[in-house]
């Protein structure tokens, strides 16, 4: 009786294994995935190119490591220095800029460090440090984390002390922590707009060009990893730099706000 | 039927457990046919001796030799334990189990088990019910049927009627006499003198782990060799 049960179960499981179409595995950053833009782009890419895009949602650091190990076929990240090092080490053939979005600084409504009036992101960070107001950092080597560190260095502050809390987690978890503590935090706009557990947090600083956040597409080098799907990567790259992508990216709205600005140069066929 | 299995020679057998000698030294030869009854009071070593003969006990000293060698002998004997071992199966499947081990198909094995249940008087019982629903007497009959189903040449029984009422005791004794008449060599233990008188062709009398006497039943009851044996037959309590 149990034997019959198990064998029929196995049969069901075998039949349930789906057939795979053409596929491209891409590591993308949390901020991109959380924006909801992926949900718009993926079906369109599948329809236009026949390629099913599988997204691994990780921090920039891990995305690049996945690419270096050959575990993904391409990465879509936002940390220029790291990307250039990645290419220099031969992990990718090139980087292609696709679009940018922006970071914002959010914090408690009563704003104890008075950052709302600060002229720049660096000035806002300097005020937070001076006030010793709680600040939550991703602390996870993500693109957002790297952007945060570059603002600290611009502000001339080495953040440390009880007020500076590194969570080592994704954007959502870090936002949860900040809302729980009533702390300041640097976040991408999309994650913020999608975040529903805001409690006392409000948007305080935006618009400084230092907060702009450039996304680039990097196909993993097939010379390094012969198994990567280079052809599919090229097709997706062409699509992402094309007119349909421009229309969808610039047209995407979250809670009535434009998140991404398309700035790719169309691919020249080699 | 018992051609090359016997004699069974026991030489200087000793069992020591927990630093204490519980049996022996015993030297004894079993041969021929009929029913051998190992008689003795509780704790005298009857169970230990039967289990040793059947190969269930590690010997501390001495040897047990079958005429045909250990491997052949083991395949032709069966053991009925004092407390029947119930499997988590139906009565019928418990009885059929040894045949299933031998590779007999389930259908044929169950048919044979049904016939065997009948022949040991396990009637009026739902054979498809779990074995655990059986009463004490029925459990013994089940165990007996399971032991007989491989048609062993030697059958060991350890106090098969220890906790049974008279009717059940009688039924089991009838089966044993019948099997003995068919040529099955029976070696059984009991502390019950009456049962020994009714069944035994030969008596092995144990007392405090020692072999006091091994003799034809008539001889033993006519003139027991030791005072302990005499007292046991008379039903006296040891002083």
């Amino acid at each position: 009786m149990i034997a019959r049960l198990i064998s029929s179960l196995l049969l069901v499981l075998l039949l349930a294994t789906p057939l795979r179409a053409e596929m491209l595995r891409m590591a993308v950053t949390t901020s991109f995935a959380n924006s909801g833009l992926a949900d718009i782009l993926l079906p369109e890419i599948a329809r236009d190119t026949g390629i099913e895009l599988q997204l691994l949602i990780v921090g920039t650091g891990q995305a690049l490591r996945l690419g270096a190990a050959g575990d993904v076929d391409a990465v879509l990240v936002h940390s220029r220095e790291a990307e250039e090092a990645f290419i220099a080490q031969g992990h990718a053939t090139h980087r292609r800029e696709i679009m940018y979005n922006d970071f914002i600084i959010v914090g408690p409504r009563h704003d104890p460090a008075h950052v709302a009036g600060a002229g720049s992101a660096a000035e806002a960070f300097a005020r937070i440090a001076r006030a010793g107001a709680p600040f939550v950092s991703r602390g996870d080597d993500s693109g957002t984390h790297r952007a945060e560190l570059s603002i600290w260095s611009r502000a001339g502050v080495t953040p440390s002390g009880a007020w500076y809390r590194a969570t080592g987690q994704g954007m959502g978890a870090a936002l949860n922590t900040a809302s729980g503590m009533g702390a300041y935090i640097l976040t991408d706009r999309a994650s913020w707009l999608n975040f529903s557990n805001r409690a006392d947090l409000v948007l305080l600083v935006q618009g400084d060009p230092a907060l702009f956040n450039q996304y680039a597409f990097l196909p993993v080098n097939p010379a390094r990893h012969p198994h990567v799907r280079a052809q599919e990567a090229a097709l997706v790259e062409a699509w992402l730099t094309g007119p349909r992508a421009r229309e969808l990216i610039d047209g995407y709205r979250l809670h009535g706000q434009q998140l991404f600005h398309f700035n790719a140069t169309p691919m020249v066929t080699k | 039927m018992v051609t090359n299995l016997l004699p069974l020679r026991i030489t200087d057998l000793e069992l020591r457990r927990a630093g204490r000698r519980i049996l022996g030294p015993i030297s004894l030869t079993l041969e021929g046919r009929g029913i051998t009854v190992v008689l003795g009071p509780n704790g005298s070593g009857k169970t230990s001796l039967l289990r040793a003969m059947h190969g269930l006990e590690r010997l501390s000293a001495g040897r047990i030799d079958w005429a045909c060698g250990e491997a052949v002998a083991r395949a032709r004997q069966a053991f009925v334990f004092q407390t029947p071992i119930l499997m988590r199966r139906s009565v019928l499947d418990c009885i059929a189990y040894p045949l299933v081990l031998d590779g007999v198909g389930r259908r044929a094995a169950r048919a044979a088990a049904r016939a065997m249940a009948d022949s040991v008087g396990l009637t009026g019982v739902a054979l498809d019910a779990p074995a655990s629903v059986l009463s004490g007497g029925e459990r013994q009959k089940m165990a007996l049927a399971r032991a007989l189903i491989r048609q062993p040449q030697i059958l060991f029984l350890d106090e098969p009627c220890a906790n049974l009422d008279n009717a059940s005791t009688r039924e089991i004794e009838t089966v044993l006499l019948r099997e003995s008449a068919r040529g099955v060599r029976i070696v059984m233990s009991t502390h019950n003198v009456g049962q020994a008188r009714r069944l035994a062709d030969e008596i092995v009398f144990l007392f405090a782990g020692r072999l006091h006497e091994a003799a034809p039943a008539r001889e033993f009851f006519a003139g027991p060799a030791t005072p302990e044996a005499r007292a046991h037959i008379a039903g006296d309590l040891p002083t």
């Binding site: 987690q169 | 071992i85 499997m87």
Partner: protein
């Protein structure tokens, strides 16, 4: 409290409308976990039985190892499987990382010790009961293992279900080796982690309730199908 209520309502709504996403990730949860449970049972149950009937020098070491493995943090298992299956790892050529197969492998490693250990306990007790009978009937080692497995099948069902319960609620390891890819390796637990990360506690709770319901339904179904309640005297 508010989140719990809205989580419950959302769960009801998702189930009532047979939300396509919910159905997909629930089915994948079942596929991965049931496969892992079947494989881990096929390995763990005979291992437990074999450990019960065998006497060899390293037996205690093996049993101690099993018990230690039961407490192994799933994240560690996930990391090890990840490193093995990564393209730059020893089994990279198989291309299994970020597939349901990788998740099944991780879960098998996590629950096999649990299933083997519980099976070992149950079978050891039965072996104590059956020992004399099975020796007397001069059974082979394989026959003993087979008999003990069959006759303790209800206890073994419990062992397998314990493994199933551990696997279906597991998130750390399968997040690492599966990658939580939408439409490919996303299952209930990783979806819950994702919704929690997004701060959508109501959705996360809704999925959590579905997970609990699913685990309950599977347990009940298996118990009914195997007639555990009927054969209570066995």
């Amino acid at each position: 409290m508010n989140d719990i209520v809205s989580g419950l309502t959302q769960a009801v709504r998702l189930i009532a409308t047979l939300d396509a996403n919910l159905v997909e990730i629930s089915l994948r949860s079942l596929q991965v976990t049931l496969s892992a449970t079947v494989i881990a049972s096929a390995l763990g149950l005979p291992l437990g039985a074999w450990l019960a009937v065998s006497r060899f020098r390293l037996r205690r070491v093996v049993i101690a190892t099993l018990n230690a493995l039961m407490g192994l943090p799933p994240v560690v298992v996930g990391l090890i499987v990840y490193v093995m299956l990564s393209r730059s790892g020893p089994l990279g050529v198989l291309g299994l990382l970020f597939t349901p197969t990788a998740m099944i492998i991780a879960q098998v490693i996590i629950i096999t010790p649990i299933i083997a250990s519980i099976a070992h306990q149950a079978i050891r007790e039965l072996w104590a009961d059956y020992h004399d009978l099975l020796i007397s009937l001069h059974t082979t080692r394989a026959q003993r293992v087979a008999t003990l497995l069959w006759d303790s099948r209800r206890a073994l069902l419990t062992a397998s279900l314990a493994g199933f319960g551990r696997a279906i609620g597991e998130v750390g390891a399968i997040m690492i080796v599966g990658g939580n890819i939408d439409h490919a390796t996303r299952v209930l637990t990783t979806a819950i982690a994702l919704e929690t990360a997004k701060g959508d506690f109501a959705m996360a709770l809704a999925l959590g309730f579905v997970l609990i319901g699913l685990a309950l339904a599977i347990n009940l179904a298996l118990h009914v199908l195997s007639g555990t309640e009927r054969g209570s005297r066995w």
